[in-house]
Symmetry: C2
Subunit: 428 residues, 2 copies
Amino acid sequence: MTDNAVNIGLIGFGTIGSGVVETLNMNLPLIEEKVGRKVNLKKIVDLDIKTDRGVEVDPDILSVDVKEILDDPEIDIVIELIGGYQPALNFILEAMDKGKHVVTANKALLAKHWDEIMESSQENKVRVCFEASVGGGIPLLKPLNESLAANNIQSIYGIINGTANYILTKMDEESRDFEEVLKEAQEKGYAEQDPTFDIEGHDTAQKLIILAILGFGVYVEQEKFHVEGISSITLEDIEFAREELGCCIKLLAISRITDGELDLRVHPTLVNEKHLLSSVNDVFNGVYITGDVVGPVMMYGPGAGMMPTASAVVGDCISLIEENDRPAAYGPVKTRVTKIKDIHDIKSRYYLRITAIDKPGVLHEISGILSDLNISIESVSQKRREEGLEVPIFIVTHESLEKNMREALKRIDELDMVKDRTIFIRLL
Amino acid sequence: MTDNAVNIGLIGFGTIGSGVVETLNMNLPLIEEKVGRKVNLKKIVDLDIKTDRGVEVDPDILSVDVKEILDDPEIDIVIELIGGYQPALNFILEAMDKGKHVVTANKALLAKHWDEIMESSQENKVRVCFEASVGGGIPLLKPLNESLAANNIQSIYGIINGTANYILTKMDEESRDFEEVLKEAQEKGYAEQDPTFDIEGHDTAQKLIILAILGFGVYVEQEKFHVEGISSITLEDIEFAREELGCCIKLLAISRITDGELDLRVHPTLVNEKHLLSSVNDVFNGVYITGDVVGPVMMYGPGAGMMPTASAVVGDCISLIEENDRPAAYGPVKTRVTKIKDIHDIKSRYYLRITAIDKPGVLHEISGILSDLNISIESVSQKRREEGLEVPIFIVTHESLEKNMREALKRIDELDMVKDRTIFIRLL
């Protein structure tokens, strides 16, 4: 073991930060043996250094002044865990300007300021590691970038939001309504009090941006692709999917090359029960990647949480120490811009749930609209209730063009006998 | 891009070697952009350079003389794909002595000569990469060693033999007998003409040795742990497991720490259908790893085959080029020897299939033996056929000590009314 210790500065002593401290408390001897050097958590900076985080920590290393990390020439690695855009961005850029490597779990920041951060990393010959930003503790980004480097990546399908996946899993397993399960998830701490970010797909979208950069070398702003959440999914959809189609419904991040274009989107998707992604349940995440050489692989594990995320953060620190002299982040230094597929141009099979008055001719009208738009029906199911009342009609289509489907939905929803907005979900 | 090309020498132009050539034919520009240097497959050596491998290759780079690689100072990386112990070992050691990095898929060699190879790597300050040796194209060994480096690994459960998994999957899905499915697997090329190595667990055992080195830093010779194959599994076992227990049967490589000892074994195991490993079907592999920080993660993908394995081999080459100045293999340089758990000391739940004459008292005798040995019965099932004929009795036990179970089996099989050797399978 060489004499010179590696000094780490941690900015942000919240949940993940406490997990990092706990990980070092647990496994420091193992880690030091692995890297062959002393590893020293020299300073922790947070606005609040009074609250007990439930982890053992030397009070002398706590500070409220970020300069004690950024201006300390002995600190080699800065871990940023405060999240958000600012001041996180400035802290990271300043750390790199001062020759420090950076480890971050900040998906929002990376998804918005990728090029700026990577340029600074190149200029300053330091590395940025961010395994924890997607998929929590799952070995995902580094394997995608390194182990699969011989591949032209064809597609990435990811279940990468634990909250949404927990809700969908519980609805399916326990035949319960969205609202009820959401409430339980909030009580258990699996969902925020304002759950919009998770259930409307925004968190998934930020992570998908990072996956697309690593998989395809393409940076796409969040506004440029289709993002749809799970709040319109009902128990009826889930039960029909399971019983009639042998599918479950998952919120998927999709990124793939079709017709030479990048097809990028986030939406609830019907996944056949035989597909491995259908077995990714509860708060777990799974990312299914297909390369042109390897074929399909999947990485699975806990996508969030204090200790799993800390596992990825500390793993990045270990990689940095071991590869100290390699002046690059993983991931492309500069992303290429290519054509992004318009959601209207994608092709998919579709599941529709139409809420209509049960009277003669309704199916005839609907099938006429679909037929006019070149959408062919694979199966249709309508459980008769009482004539004149509202009834759900379930339709599964063959592969069709999204823009035709959207036009069909518009026309269907304009029909007098259709009483609610039609739900449509794409099939994997 | 810097001027100096990286030169690669390939020893072994069989299936995987051809896959490597094909991978470079497909994705060389992508790979060169990634590493920022020209990558040149300078020489391919094989005893047979006449046979058409079905891949495009410059005939000028083919040779039958391994010295054209080992003695060429311009060659930076040697890929060894001839398999077996010798001359592979000598080629690898000579390449390292001459300052060349090594990439190999040779699990047998690593499982037997780990220390010798790693010592040479240390002495010569070159790296040895072997991602392809376990799990084919799945990003597995590098993520285990690097991304999970903050963890004290608790357990590794692997389905790492595609042939055995294919046979068990088909028996289950198509309700067919072992012999019949094996024959089909041989016809399809999924099983060798002599399938012993795969179906008796020897291949799985070699791979488990490598997983245990990376996960636990422990090298165990194959003779020192319990290895049991799948040839005694019948359709009856599989159907009972599915229908009565909600389980499937998988050939598992198990490596875990219990009571401070390393518990290492290969045997068919009942896996609950809710466990993700139960969804690893056909020729696919899956490895389920639990770390003390991250919790459980799983890596899944094609565990063998020309292109998937080539993906891992070429991925290793790319890592080597990118990390050229890091003088170590991944994995511990020197393994530690710790106490290995004796199979007799493990605890497990057990499934038993007893073949007995259906007459009064048989169950009484058997339950008496179990009770004497402190083995408690969780469930028992006997479908009555005709008194006086052979009937299978299925028993699932609570957690019991293996040595007691073995003694019980011995006593049960000595009973007059027991007509065939009792099958027992451990539950996951």
